[in-house]
């Protein structure tokens, strides 16, 4: 029993054939070759599968693809500038601060950090820890992730002033 859903994916209008039990991660991977959101725990515990649906972070491993019909979906692949391929300040800060090791969790942290800075452009350490507490990193790059978010906040501020 398949059906067709259509939605906006990283700014582009798209459609996909799905079955009711397909989750968002597998549809993004299989139909659109977007591998940044990836499954790990499959239970909503780790955040490796984080995707933004209508601006809200969801666990793509649990989120049924059928629910994005008509929605606006954004993945980590949308963070870099589509035309110039320039990295976003958060992506750059993650590289510079060494905020990942294996990188498996990184797309989830990047999306959450980006959202955090949109909501709180100048977060303190407590806010950062709290906001990112639902994402797990087994390599435990947490201190560097915190440093990266702070660095990105400074950069964004400098950019908006300059």
């Amino acid at each position: 029993m398949t059906r067709t859903i259509s939605f906006t994916l990283n700014g582009e209008q798209v459609a996909a054939e799905i079955k009711p039990h397909h989750n968002l991660v597998e549809v993004l991977q299989r139909e659109f070759n977007l591998m940044g959101a990836r499954e790990s725990c499959g239970q909503g515990m780790c955040g490796c599968c984080t995707v933004l649906v209508n601006g809200a972070a969801v666990s793509g491993c649990l989120y049924l693809a059928a629910f994005v019909d008509g929605a606006e979906v954004r993945t980590v692949e949308s963070l870099a500038d589509a035309r110039t391929q320039a990295l976003s300040p958060v992506q750059e800060a993650f590289i510079e601060a060494g905020a990942f090791q294996c990188g498996y969790c990184t797309p989830g942290f990047l999306l959450m950090a980006t959202q955090l800075l949109e909501a709180y452009p100048d977060p303190d350490e407590e806010q950062i820890r709290h906001y990112l507490s639902g994402n797990l990193c087994r390599c435990a790059a947490y201190p560097e992730i915190i440093a990266a978010v702070k660095l990105a906040a400074r950069r964004r501020k400098a950019n908006s002033v300059g």
Binding site: F100, C137, A141, Y142
Partner: protein, 778 residues
């Protein structure tokens, strides 16, 4: 000259005399693969697909030990879309002896006749749609005749209940040969070390202490679960696998197939974490067998839950006894260590032996006795997890050392200082200790802890204390690494090495080493992705061995290339000391942009196997890893809750090749071990893991990072290391657990001898101390 981080040097920079870019060693260069990882482009096996691929879903044993009476696949076969159901019988049609393992050939690709632990793979459902495969796997039914099972390592040592009828050593290791065909035992290896005469020393000692310590079963829990894809045909097999040791996989798959190695190709995409789990054979043999049967590519990708049934860290029981003379010197130490290896040996016998070398700790002790036993039990197998057994040993010996100091009313730091193994002294194995900064790591942590200065002890229910621990590890030896390096006619450098960058930053470090020798920016060096068709042999990315062994191989390869460049310059008539750019040199030699320079390097350190009777050898390790940790804690004596207010770690990693990456390795290792110390535990009931999910098995999250975590590397230079460097992936795990337990005793007077240090454990101990034990403890 562009050498600052982020800027990519061009091959034009390369000159015969070097481009004089300054030292590549000691640069905090951001990881070379960073862009791939922040854009979501990095490819991991778990998300890979091949055209025509089938998905395999595993049906697993529900009993801990039993004879398989029947496997009913009829309902599974009826699921629409299912391609095929596979059992061991099918596997044997393509691989007649389907057993693998690095130390013992004991693990079947799918259970043959018997199952040995709950969760063991018994059958597989294949389908083009993974959901169909999963549904079918759930409909497979097996009947077992249950057999007695053994779960505890000490009970297993009594050999009353046997896990395997007969032992099957792999033949790779000379010191296991005598176990071939042995029956009636669960002991997969017993390592002995005998130095001096412990009995005599105990009799003469002023004080003798004996304690027993336990560690729990935990697991690596890489966020990318195990995954392999095999694509087999008559000419060869290509396996895509998240493997830390592609060379071993190639050798072992070739053996299983009866093929020469050159028909087996292992390609390694990015790894979403490894930590020792993704070593040796994991899903590769199953994927290969399935692909042989169905003649299509087959992917075996596990779920998080299934990782709990694949490979874990050894639980251990350590009985440790120490004699101390009237002056506070340790005169004798006897160590009896029982390693719970689970149902298949994996690399457990290596863990048992290699960690056994340093079971008596970083102390200068004349009389040492070590018995270290690798035991089979009916639990999921155990292997190496970021420390090759050392964290379990340090947990015991550094808790014990603290208990002795307290009992003798000696300052725990002073007591350690007095007994510490010093430069130039023989370690328990007999090897003279060189370039091991044990004193420096201990002193730096003590200084940061303000040891000797009073500590605010807290008030009311909140009690504060501090603890310290120090440790040593002998790196796994002997092991071999090979590297190849090519220079193209435009002067650009490509490096081929089998070290797997699973997040530890080895690609960046290896590029820095090659860049240092050739005097080109590390960013300009291309590292070829791991592919056994092109990357040469490497023993494996494990045990913090790579930076030293592969680092040397890369250095040698680059040096050879450098010499060949100079020779080419002479050949074309360049004057001595010429600094002609490489593209011009190649043009001069070949008349156009053509040709290559190829350098190769092989490194294997000296090793003398320990004497089988005494475990003694004067060449046991090419270098020593040293660490110390200190903790300050606050214990809520009403709830047992422990807050870690400061966690300090100092390591000796020789000269850091990339200080920033070293820093992240230290903090990552500390935090991982913090999880194993404070809360991680696989709960097991009659062999069944009852918390096999991230919902029920908690790992450290960002809120678990201590507010004050301080890490440092001490000033050190390994005289035999590549540019002075040692490995560092594991070092910072060693001392975290005992430092915290020692701090807890310092705070509130209770001593915990089993991990993890949960609020419940602390609370029970507090109640027992107050002579009001909880009812079930009474």
């Amino acid at each position: 000259m562009a050498t600052s981080s982020g800027q990519v040097g061009t091959p034009k920079d390369a000159k015969v005399g070097g481009a004089k870019v300054g030292s590549q060693i000691g640069r905090s260069l951001p990881r070379l693969e960073g862009r791939d990882k922040v854009t979501g482009r990095a490819e991991y096996t778990h998300t890979m697909r091949l055209p025509g691929m089938l998905y395999a879903k595993i049906f697993r044993s529900t009993v801990a030990h039993g004879r398989i009476k029947s496997i009913d696949t009829s309902a599974a076969k009826r699921v629409p879309g299912v391609y095929r159901i596979i059992t061991a019988e099918d596997i044997r049609t393509v691989i007649p002896a389907p057993y693998y393992g690095p130390a013992f050939h004991d693990q079947p690709i799918l259970a043959v006749d018997k199952v040995h632990f709950v969760g063991e793979p018994v059958a597989v459902a294949l389908a083009a749609d993974p959901h169909v495969a999963e549904e079918a796997a759930q409909l497979i039914v097996a009947e077992y005749e249950e057999l007695p099972a053994v779960f505890d390592e000490v009970e297993a040592a009594a050999n009353n209940t046997l896990v395997h009828e007969e032992l099957k050593p792999a033949g790779t290791f000379a010191d296991l040969k005598h176990l071939k065909g042995r029956k009636g035992t669960n002991v997969a290896l017993d390592f002995k070390l005998r130095r001096g005469d412990v009995d005599k020393a105990f009799a003469a000692a002023a004080h003798v202490f004996e304690h027993t310590f336990h560690t729990q079963k935990v697991l690596h829990l890489a966020l990318e679960p195990f995954a392999s894809i095999a694509d087999w045909n008559e000419r060869g097999v290509t396996i895509y696998s998240g493997s830390q040791g592609p060379s071993f996989v190639r050798t072992e798959i070739a053996r299983l197939l009866g093929w020469p190695e050159n028909r087996v190709r292992i390609k390694v995409p990015y790894l979403g974490g490894g930590f020792g789990a993704k070593l040796y054979i994991k899903m590769e043999a199953l994927a290969t067998a399935l692909s042989m049967i169905v003649r299509r590519p087959v992917k075996v990708a596990l779920t998080m839950e299934e990782q709990f049934y694949t490979i874990t860290r050894h639980p251990s029981t350590f009985v440790i006894k120490t004699g101390v003379d009237a002056s506070g010197r340790i005169t004798a130490r006897k160590c009896e260590v029982y390693w719970n290896g689970g149902a298949y040996a994996d690399v457990g016998p290596r863990v048992t032996q290699k960690s056994g070398f340093t079971a008596s700790g970083p102390y200068d002790i004349d009389n040492v006795w070590v018995d270290s036993y690798a035991l089979y039990t009916n639990l999921p197998p155990a292997g190496a997890l970021r420390g090759f057994g050392i964290p379990q040993l340090v947990w015991a010996y550094e808790s014990h050392t603290d208990m002795i100091a307290r009992a003798l009313k000696l300052d725990p730091l002073e007591f350690r200082r007095k007994n510490l193994l010093r430069e130039g002294r023989p370690q328990a194995t007999g090897q003279i200790v060189r370039d091991a900064k044990l004193d420096a790591v201990l002193e730096r942590v003590a200084e940061r802890l303000n040891w000797g200065k009073p500590l605010a002890r807290g008030n009311g229910a909140l009690r504060r204390g501090r603890g310290i621990a120090v440790a040593i590890k002998a790196v796994i030896s002997p092991t071999t690494s090979v590297a190849n390096l090519t220079i193209a006619a435009d002067g650009s450098t490509t490096l081929y090495c089998g070290t797997v960058d699973m997040g530890q930053g080895s690609d960046t470090a290896m590029a820095q080493i090659a860049g240092e020798v050739l005097d080109v920016p590390a960013e300009s060096v291309r590292i070829v992705p791991r592919d056994t068709d092109v990357t040469p042999y490497d023993m494996g990315t494990l045990g913090s061995r790579s930076l030293f062994h592969m680092g040397h191989a890369v250095r040698l390869a680059a040096e050879e290339a450098r010499e060949k460049i100079k020779a080419m310059a002479r050949e074309v008539g360049e004057p001595e000391g010429s600094n002609i750019p490489l593209p011009d040199l190649f043009k001069k030699k070949f008349g156009m942009q053509a040709g290559n320079i190829v350098g190769t390097g092989t490194y294997k350190p000296d090793y003398v196997p320990p004497d089988p009777a005494t475990g003694l050898t004067d060449k046991v390790t090419p270098f020593w890893m040293c660490a110390a940790s200190g903790a300050e804690v606050e214990v809520d004596t009403e709830t047992g809750h422990v807050r870690i207010t400061r966690l300090i770690t100092a390591v000796d990693c020789g000269r850091p090749v990339n200080p920033k990456i070293v820093e992240t390795q230290i903090s990552g290792a500390v935090l991982m071990q913090l999880g194993f110390t404070m809360f991680e535990k696989m709960h097991i009931d009659a062999g069944q893991v009852t918390n096999a999910s991230l919902a029920d098995y908690k790992i450290p999250a960002i809120l678990d990072v201590p507010q004050a975590m301080e890490n440092e590397t001490v000033d050190s230079h390994l005289s035999t290391g590549p540019f002075g460097a040692k490995g560092v992936g594991e070092t910072a795990t060693f001392c975290v657990s005992p430092a915290i337990a020692n701090a807890i005793e310092d705070a509130c007077g209770v001593r915990l001898t089993a991990l993890p240090l949960t609020p419940e454990a602390v609370f029970r101990a507090l109640r027992a101390q107050a002579n009001k034990p909880l009812a079930d403890d009474a």
